[in-house]
Symmetry: C2
Subunit: 427 residues, 2 copies
Amino acid sequence: MPLDAALAARILDAVDANFDRQMDMTRVLVRFASVRGEEGPCQDFVHAELAKRGLAMERFPMDEGAISRHPGGSPFSPEHSKAPIVVGIHRPREETGRSLIMQSHVDVVPAGPRSMWSRDPFEPVIEGDWFYGRGGADMKAGHAAMFAVLDSLRAIGLQPAATVTVQSVVEEESTGNGALQCHLRGYKADAVLIPEPEEEKLIRANAGVLWFRVEVSGLPVHVSHAGSGQNAIEAAFGVIGKLRELEARWNEKKADHPLFAEDPHPINLNIGKIEGGDWASSVPAWCSFDCRIAIYPGERPETMIRAVEETISAASRADRFLSNNPPRVVWNGFTTEGYILEPGSEAEAVLGRAHKAATGKPLETMITPAYLDTRVYALYDKVPALCYGPISENIHGFDERFSVASMKRVTRAMALFVAEWCGTEPA
Amino acid sequence: MPLDAALAARILDAVDANFDRQMDMTRVLVRFASVRGEEGPCQDFVHAELAKRGLAMERFPMDEGAISRHPGGSPFSPEHSKAPIVVGIHRPREETGRSLIMQSHVDVVPAGPRSMWSRDPFEPVIEGDWFYGRGGADMKAGHAAMFAVLDSLRAIGLQPAATVTVQSVVEEESTGNGALQCHLRGYKADAVLIPEPEEEKLIRANAGVLWFRVEVSGLPVHVSHAGSGQNAIEAAFGVIGKLRELEARWNEKKADHPLFAEDPHPINLNIGKIEGGDWASSVPAWCSFDCRIAIYPGERPETMIRAVEETISAASRADRFLSNNPPRVVWNGFTTEGYILEPGSEAEAVLGRAHKAATGKPLETMITPAYLDTRVYALYDKVPALCYGPISENIHGFDERFSVASMKRVTRAMALFVAEWCGTEPA
């Protein structure tokens, strides 16, 4: 049932009135340089803030055994975060509405060289409409918005009339195991909302993601002559060339995936990191590189893993260095499936109304070629999993930023969504 | 005047009798992990050992200003060693013979991953005829041999009848500035002997060497789509491809350099090290790689530097990422000229007789495509600069090793050479 217009107006006013406080909290969150493995202090702050609001708090580690037995689990590597997951549960006086999970991640990708930023990546600043900082858009702005929704309702004497589970996870940027751990622990709701930076659009479908490292190491055939065929760095280039051919073949299959058929290049392979050798005058006998590639929704990670491994084997047989020294492939992160948000759910309709009321425009949908934690709830809980958030630029790049005005619109929409989906009751 | 046969026999016996002690000193030297910048303790040991033998000791730093003004100087980088150079001078009672500089370097190249060695690289062991250890062959075996020559003569009551300057340098593996600093300080002799591991042969000519780092960094054009044209790591591969073409063109010129015309591939480009990016799921906006390339004797480094820079400029114009973000070329090591040892010198004749007497075989010559410190004395002092040393395998690689029997033969030849070149007098 659509929200009463007067109530909607009061809620929107409350969001606007709270907005400076929301940006203050976003600033605090961005100042935590919560890169992989370093999320502990940020999670402690989140825990304290949720507890302050009277939510029932839970905090727990990942269960590697349980994750590894689940088809949606990604492999653990030595870099896997050990930071806790933090969950705050709002339980209403009377459970009259529909329950909701709101989730954000606090892990951020590395900032890269300071010199490539026009400002300190962990000292947020707003210039014009842009809020700059590593992890601001992806996704501490959304994280602060979850607090803002609850605070704005509270400011007008209301709270959700259904259980709302607020989940603050880690490992979203590397494995998706944080969200999966929440699922394994048993949290469940009638819908899920994750406010990732998605251009004020709702994600209709997203790709699965595979992460792997290729480790080339072995003895050059003749160390005295540094011909290119004996150099582990250049042997690695040859493997990368073959992986690019695999990427091209996967992109050619887009017609089989109607939601992705319009995307000029839905499957992106990224060679994100490389390290090899240690001395200009020594023939390098080792080189490793880290890759990320997307897979279409419906494709099983294990099938696509085999295709990657076969590509690397074939590349090795054709190379002088590699045929003597077959590379090792390490699956060191994401091995996750994509998902499709089935159209027609009541949750989507409610978000559509909320968006229209908050922004004056109809809610559009889009697909993304990137990993999203919503996959856990779409695939394994089979509930409407809504990924929707603000306009941003340069996530994972330099001068990452989100639009402040967009974040305000999105927060307004989120608040109306929660009020209608969960209903409200006196706080 | 050839050595008296009886004296030669006494000297050879003395070398043999001293040989266990010589290997002990080699072991001690190899245990110092004297990689670039870490040579201090090893140089202190060398200083103490030379002083113990009564040589007049000198110890001094590099003079960056003087080196940079000299045509044979290589650029300083932040990694340049600050370890001292150690020189011990033997002055005879009567200066009746020809003076000699004997020189070795104590810097060694990095060992690389421990897992690729079949033993600890800095815990030397002898197995069969092979002495294993990083820097054993290149060139602590030769370093210990300089001591062994003086000790063996002393053991039979003799010493050189001319000034012998024993120079222990650093930066041989990266700039050649250590040897140049000795030249700049004014040490000079009628001949120079450097016992690098050269297959029991005399070096007739060697190549010059250039070191450079190419730094690619800039903003990918569209960070949202990780197409290969926007990736700094893959942009770097393109530059490397063009440098390989330059290498091929330089190899085609070998007919113009008769001493190198028989070598199947005299000019080696090595891509020795690469680093780029920091996250599998972020498009890498930076990548740097370290290179080494040879130049023919007679070619001027500044001319060849321009050719490298023009190659990189041309590669950049053809690449989508690089044309927006031209790479930076940093000359961070060797910019050295090659040399030719002119045949017919008396020093070469004396070494030839010594080698024949010590090994039973005529002295052969060879060319090397690698840097040698002898270039300083050949080019700037214009004296016979003899590079001659033991049989080895895998220098700059894993399980670096030298032949113990070969080292004994070479030490015998060195002792006879010193005795004939310098003459002898009672100790």
